[in-house]
Amino acid sequence: MIMKTIQMLLLRCALALASGLSCTSLAWADGDSSSHADSSVTTRASLSGPEVYRQYCMACHMADGEGAQGAGYFPALARNGNLAAAGYPIYVILNGLGGMPWFNGLLQDEEIAAVVHYIRSSFGNHYTDAPNADDVAIMRGPVPQE
């Protein structure tokens, strides 16, 4: 009985480690209560392109894809020539750029493909070639450790 309980405990710990929860201990080091990584990324239901945009991208690129200008700027996605090849936004989303964080470890391959298709076919953009999850997977490196 007792050994079973202890085995359960160990199993839980192992599961927690396997699901990436161990990373959160690093975020605690500076007093943050949560991690930059999303431990549920591989298990949660996939979001659609517009849902990903709304939850992850709109904070900076704005609802209309026009970006914003302050002391620095968030680039507009509307009429953005860098979107001509899908590989560019896939690379930037996976790895980050300047102040923009990496989304490797936060978004699923399917979600990155979906949001890239969304931004390339919205805000006045009309690219029709939709990338798929494999196009993302092939560009994905290891998730950076913080």
């Binding site: 007792i2 050994m3 309980t5 202890i6 405990l9 839980r12 927690a16 929860l21 959160t24 201990s25 975020a27 605690w28 080091a29 500076d30 007093g31 943050d32 209560s33 949560s34 991690s35 930059h36 999303d38 709304r54 939850q55 992850y56 991208c57 709109m58 904070a59 900076c60 704005m62 609802a63 914003a68 200008q69 302050g70 002391a71 620095g72 700027y73 968030f74 980050g96 750029l97 300047g98 102040g99 923009m100 964080p101 990496w102 936060l106 950076p144 450790q145 913080e146």
Partner: protein, 530 residues
Amino acid sequence: MTDRTYLTRRQLLKAIGLTAGATAMYHAMTTLGHAGESPFSGPPVLSGAKPGTRVLILGAGLAGLLAAYELRKSGYDVEILEYQDRAGGRNWTLRRGDQYTELGGATQRVDFAEGNYFNPGPWRIPHHHRTVLHYCKALGVQLESFIQFNHNAYIHSTEAFGGKPQRWREVWSDLQGNLTELLAKALNEGQLDLPVGVEERDQLLQALQGWGLLDGEYRYRSSLQTALRRGYSHAPGGGQTAPPASGPLLDLNDLLHPSIWRGLNSQLVYNAQPTMFQPVGGMDQISKAFMRAMDGLPIRYNARVTHIAQDNRQVTVTYVPPQGGDATQVSADWCICTLPLPILGQLEFQASDAMLSAIRAIPYSSYTKIGLEFRRRFWEEDDAIYGGTSVTDQEIALISYPNDRFMSDGPAVLLAAYTTSTKDGLKLTGMTPEERIETALSQGEKIHPQYRKEFLSGVSVGWHRVPWQLGCRARWSDQARQTHYKALSDIDGRVVLAGDHVSYTPGWMEGAMQSALDSIHRLHQQASAA
């Protein structure tokens, strides 16, 4: 600590370092009580500055203000350029009448009662952040206790205890009690080997029993003994009132949910341990104190830097008004640049490739904070929570209660969300201010059902949308540290960077201030040698 002590100790350490090497010096430093904590060992002594040496500082946050303060004291001719119409940077407090316009154009007007405030940026000072504490004392910033951990505040998980918030003291006590009971059982049944170094089985059993509050049979049970730590269902009364009674224990299965021990750990990390401090009246008292101490400091507000050029004689910085207009140039012998990396990376900056690569390699975090004002202190009046923090696994992450003016009547403001995860921070930042407040209300009322009835107004800051920042704090990956940290902190020609992003404590005022001290120290050496 006086300068004299500092010099003596430093000279001593230097002598040890020269004769016996770094290991001996580190050992000596540890013995003297320095190396284990903050590296701060007193204000800098920058003697022998060449008269008339001009230093231009970009950014009037804490790093810029501290650099200006110390360089000025040492005889340098200092000037600051600042994008905003105020000094302080993220050392920032919002009060009644303040107005804040975020990127995207949404404007919030703060409508809190007189005396109430909200710190969108830093909100607490650990006792080991000696640089911040030193300057608070030196500049007369009055400090009071900041309470992080309150045993009577709540831990709330949507996935444990049926979503019902629990008091920290019960959770902590029962987790400790249950785990020690398990270990004691295993040990008693010969299923646990003694750890190396422990020779007496009884010694270990006794520790488990005592620390876990286990009974004579090594069981953790609801009793007046365990109630000493976890509290009572009926507290001890006087006279003929009810005698004390202990309540039911929490379920081990719930206690083991990751959100519970993660929440507990978040309250116990080094940077959150007591004693912590906050300035009386809001965090911006620190930057205001620097400004008071530098009465007459030349500072050009509303200056958006567009170019930083340099040659072997001087630095020339070009700036324009934030809303556009004529460019102005200003030159100096040296420049200390404290601009946030997302902004600096977009300027035309004449620097080495290594420096520019470093600047453009570090993303910023997506922290979001929401302050809510309520009609009354229901957390005190109804829940007996005086200061401290409740934690939840929802997007708001926590509720931090005011640590001042306990038991006062009238409206009070609490920190209703401090969202640090990238996922949740981006989601909240992408909302309108009204949607953010609705989120804080709908998630907060799961802990405090009084929320809706008592709510007055709120204000929110998603740091990616702060026009002068574009993100909250540098996120250093291990790889980026190895590749870029040295280049980012090196003096590049006549420019050196400073700020929390050039520290191992990003996102803390201590990091900004230590970086500033280190940068001016090295700049002074170089300027003196030139």
